[in-house]
């Protein structure tokens, strides 16, 4: 199959690649670029484990043709870690509150919460639950995830 040129910004770095038109973003990230922090849980846009930020907005990468990100700015979980190895407040809060169990939903949760806190630095519980409801977790019952987002908001205030 012929390929097409795709240019976008990934975790702060400009990239130009040749991709087959039927390539999905989740596969481009995981298989071609080796960024396996983005998870594929259902490949039908239901579980949210594949969430990435597209220009700051959380989206399911499993339903997204890679060519759709032309010219966009993409953030994956790997992009949150700073150059000096330090972590984002949300990542610290997830650890502090015990918000990860199996951890499979964690990247999608953290990225979705990152977008939320950017838009609304002091969300109430209802707003947190609404914003994160597209990411499924089968382990935690969500309580400690909500607490982690609250803790991160507080720490950043």
């Amino acid at each position: 199959m012929s390929t097409m040129e795709l240019s976008f910004k990934l975790n702060g770095r400009a990239l130009t690649l040749n991709v087959a038109p039927d390539t999905l973003m989740v596969d481009l990230l995981r298989e071609d670029l080796g960024l396996t922090g983005t998870k594929a849980g259902c490949r039908e846009g239901e579980c949210g484990a594949c969430t990435i930020l597209v220009d700051g907005t959380p989206m399911n990468s499993c339903l997204m043709p890679a060519l759709k990100v032309q010219g966009r700015e993409i953030t994956t979980i790997e992009g949150l870690e700073k150059a000096d190895g330090s972590l984002e407040v949300l990542q610290e809060a997830f650890m502090g509150e015990g918000a990860s169990q199996c951890g499979f939903c964690t990247p999608g949760m953290i990225l979705t919460a990152t977008a939320l806190l950017k838009q609304n630095p002091d969300p109430d519980e209802g707003e947190i639950r609404q914003a994160l409801s597209g990411v499924l977790c089968r382990c935690t019952g969500y309580r400690k995830i909500v607490q982690a987002v609250k803790a991160a908001a507080k720490a950043r205030a």
């Binding site: 922090g37 849980g41 199996c102 951890g103």
Partner: protein
């Protein structure tokens, strides 16, 4: 309050005669430094950065991709298979049928009744009839379409009662009744004669999907030395190994199974890795190439084990004051097409056996009779799922208790106060509960925290228009630690190195529950070092001692004890060295905070690392080994009497919710879940188990069901199979009580499965309380709640 309860219980324990003392490892009374604290999860930094590698994250190393051709018929004979066209497709390396299986063509966690590749017949939609290995997943898919199979459909059975009927078509040669067991205590006829009220009810629960978020993956490769290496996310590496070896026709020591961190398991990754592990190994065996099989979400829903569906008939008798006099029950436990983890393992293992023992609930009842049948059908098969038989029967007995209370005009809490187990109670199997019985304490603590009386008084219509009604619900529960089989031993090894760092060898797997955090805590506690000084080895059957599976809420307790024994063995060697270095007798030495010191003169001390180095240099023991087996379980095959499980965890849940009586929709508002856990080794991880378990129980109550029509799964996706989202789950408040288990490490009991068990009936009871609608066939989705309210003659008007 907690302390008072502990003291009270401890005093009572001392006055009772006990059995199984030879299994006692003394840990009581030890003042703890590491165990009992919320040590941060070991793997958290990898999880929050996306660096943790799950099965699917391992790089492609020249794998072939394996795919399974599945039967479209629930029950059929295979007349012929033509694989010629598939084999000719470019990129296809192997297409295998039944005759290509090198050894035993069957696998199964307990009975190898499931063909690796079906030869003569298929027994459910999803049965594997051919295997393909190809250079890409896409080619493998294409190849499946080119395989031609000629089937002769057979009459299929979808109800266990039909399958038990005389003359029913046989699904397996041995017949459709896989197992039947009976539990008889006292005289139920006499008990019912004594009763003022007798109620009879039937409850029915469907197949459930685990819906772990990480899809199953397995990788098999034949190593140059002829050893077959199978890797993947799995809960039971030893069970996988036990199956792969005979399927290949080689000894167990020629198979090596490595576990990869799991993205959730909940019992489901106990046997699905056996299935795809055997199949990937057969493909690797034939091709000589590494083979990867990854299941798609649809395949997971169709193919892998489910929670057993049950039809449960109950009859209960009580006096006017609520005292239970008799209980009679029948369980039709639907096994589906293959035995998986369902069948009985003597004396007390098995889905229906477990359900039978638990069916009368955690209540003192003098007269009990339960018949339990485990039956093959042409549906997908039942396996282990968080609670293994217990959630089903709790849904029945806890609803029955509420219905009985309503009939008698007493409160749902009072009827439980009247009958709940206490220290010294005899269960329906005649087992006297002689230690660590905190059930009533959970009821009182839960009622206090929930403020039951006030909330109960405040229930009723929420709005003027009378469309929404608020209600409260309560449910209790009990659950065993370990699995009730004779072979439930668990081994560990602790290797101290000359710099004081420690490797812990355990076969218990990490699936998110926190074993890799809690087990090093126990090891560190015993050696007197920090949890970070202990690295736990990723389970690998070539490295770790046989530990049994990571199931049955057994890991912390059984493995915890094995680790304590292992640590003590090596510690003895270290203390011997320290004794000579300090010129202090070993009995006076204490190991704590990375130091070994004289208890009578704490200034006289040595660093743990210095002692380790000297011990090593002296040529003394640096490795400790431990093995712990619970007291032998007993359950008479004819009467169901005995002591099937060595200790139980207890719980009470209370919930407040609102039902929209016009639409049947349910919204949870508040939730308190109280547990007697014996001892919380890591309170935060334990809370996580509770909160997640309640959410899973909520899904069972309100939305989850694998919908089957003539054997065809109607909702094989997370679009169709709904699990709770963040908007469905309320803020769950966990309440932890500690009535110590004298058989457990520092008093701990199992907790992995208990949390979801009372959650489902607590919610169903609250729905009935709010709306008058009693849903006896799950799930209580809006449509069922709507009709249940109408069947009850409309909501209460008060």
């Amino acid at each position: 309050m907690q302390d008072k309860m502990q003291d009270k219980n401890k005093t009572q324990v001392l006055t009772k005669a006990r059995t199984g003392l030879e299994h006692l490892i003394k840990t009581a009374g030890k003042s703890l430094t590491v165990a009992g604290t919320s040590v941060a999860r070991r793997d958290d930094p990898l999880k929050v950065t996306g660096k943790l590698k799950y099965g699917a994250d391992y790089p492609d190393e020249g794998f072939l991709y394996g795919k399974i051709l599945r039967s479209p018929h629930p029950h059929a004979l295979i007349k012929s298979i033509n694989t010629k066209k598939a084999k000719e497709l470019e990129g296809v390396v192997a297409v295998l049928t039944a005759e290509d299986v090198p050894g035993r063509n069957g696998f199964g966690a307990i009975i190898p009744d499931q063909p690796v590749i079906c030869g003569d017949k298929v027994r459910f939609i999803g049965d594997g009839v051919a295997l393909v290995a190809a250079e890409s997943e896409k080619i493998a898919h294409e190849a499946l379409k080119l395989i031609e199979v000629d089937y002769e459909p057979l009459p299929a059975l979808f109800d266990p009662r039909d399958a038990m009927a005389e003359g029913a078509p046989k699904i397996h040669e041995s017949g459709n009744l896989l197992s039947d067991d009976k539990m008889v205590k006292g005289d139920v006829d006499a008990g019912f004669a004594e009763a003022d009220v007798i109620l009879e009810r039937t409850y029915q629960v469907p197949f459930l999907e685990h819906a772990y978020l990480e899809p199953d993956t397995t990788m098999a490769r034949l190593q140059p030395d002829g050893v077959m290496l199978v890797e993947g996310p799995m809960q039971a590496p030893f069970t996988t190994r036990r199956n792969v070896a005979p399927v290949l026709g080689i000894p167990i020591n020629q198979v090596r199974v490595r576990q990869i961190h799991m993205g959730g398991g909940f019992g489901g990754k106990e046997d699905s890795p056996i299935d795809i592990g055997c199949r990937a190994a057969v493909l690797a065996w034939h091709t000589g190439r590494p083979v990867k099989i990854s299941l798609e979400r649809e395949e997971i829903t169709i193919q892998t084990a489910k929670r057993h569906p049950m039809i449960m008939e109950l009859k209960v008798g009580a006096k006017k004051d609520g005292t239970l006099t008799a209980f009679q029950g029948v369980i039709y436990d639907e096994q589906g097409a293959y035995a998986s983890l369902g069948p009985k393992i003597p004396p007390a293992g098995g889905s229906h056996v477990h359900a039978m023992v638990m069916m009368p609930g955690p209540y003192e009842i003098p007269n009990v009779k339960v018949d339990a049948y485990l039956v093959y059908t042409n549906h997908p098969y039942g396996g282990a799922m968080r609670g293994f038989g217990a959630p089903q029967v709790h849904i029945a007995h806890e609803q029955m208790m509420d219905e009985l209370a309503a009939e008698l005009g007493i409160s749902a809490v009072d009827i439980r106060r009247k009958n709940a187990f206490k220290l010294g109670s005899a269960t329906a199997t005649g087992q006297v509960l002689n230690q660590s019985v905190g059930l009533r304490e959970t009821l009182e603590a839960c009622a206090e925290r929930f403020d039951w009386d006030r909330r109960l008084a405040e229930c009723g219509w929420v709005d003027q228009a009378k469309t929404k009604r608020r209600g409260v619900g309560v449910a209790m529960g009990w659950y065993r630690t370990s699995i009730g089989t004779n072979g439930d031993g668990c081994g560990a090894a602790v290797h101290v190195h000359e710099d004081g760092s420690v490797l812990l060898y355990s076969g218990i797997t990490e699936m998110g529950q926190g074993a890799f955090t809690v087990l090093p805590q126990i090891c560190a506690e015993e050696l007197g070092i920090e949890p970070g000084d202990v690295r736990i080895v990723q389970p690998d059957t070539d490295l770790v001692p046989e530990s049994g599976p990571t199931v049955g809420s057994r890991s912390t307790t059984l493995m915890g004890n094995a680790i304590i024994l292992a640590a003590r063995q090596v510690k003895e060697s270290l203390l011997d060295t320290a004794s000579m270095m300090l010129m202090v007798p070993t009995e006076r030495l204490e190991a704590r905070g990375r130091k070994i010191y004289d208890r009578e003169n704490p200034g006289k001390s040595l660093g743990f690392a210095a002692v380790a180095a000297r011990t090593m240099a002296s040529g003394k023991r640096m490795i400790g080994q431990g093995w712990w087996t619970p007291p032998p379980p007993s359950l008479d095959g004819h009467t169901g009497q005995g002591s099937p499980y060595h200790v139980y965890t207890y719980s009470t849940h209370m919930v407040q919710l609102v039902v929209d009586v016009e639409t049947g929709e349910v919204a949870l508002e508040d939730y308190v879940a109280a547990f007697d856990v014996g001892k919380a080794i890591n309170p935060k991880a334990l809370e996580g188990q509770i909160e997640g378990g309640v959410a899973m129980g909520l899904g069972y109550a309100l939305m989850e069901e694998v919908v089957l029509d003539h054997g065809v799964t109607q909702n094989p996706s997370l679009q169709g199979y709904l699990i709770p989202t963040m908007l469905d789950v309320p803020d769950i408040q966990p309440l932890i009580l500690e009535v110590p288990n004298e058989m457990g490490p520092y008093g701990a009991k199992g907790i992995g499965e208990m949390p979801n068990i009372p959650a489902t009936p607590a919610i169903l009871n609250a729905i009935a309380h709010a709306s008058g609608g009693r849903v006896s066939r799950l799930p209580a989705d809006p449509e069922k709640v709507f009709w249940a309210i109408r069947e009850a003659g409309g909501p209460p008007q008060a």
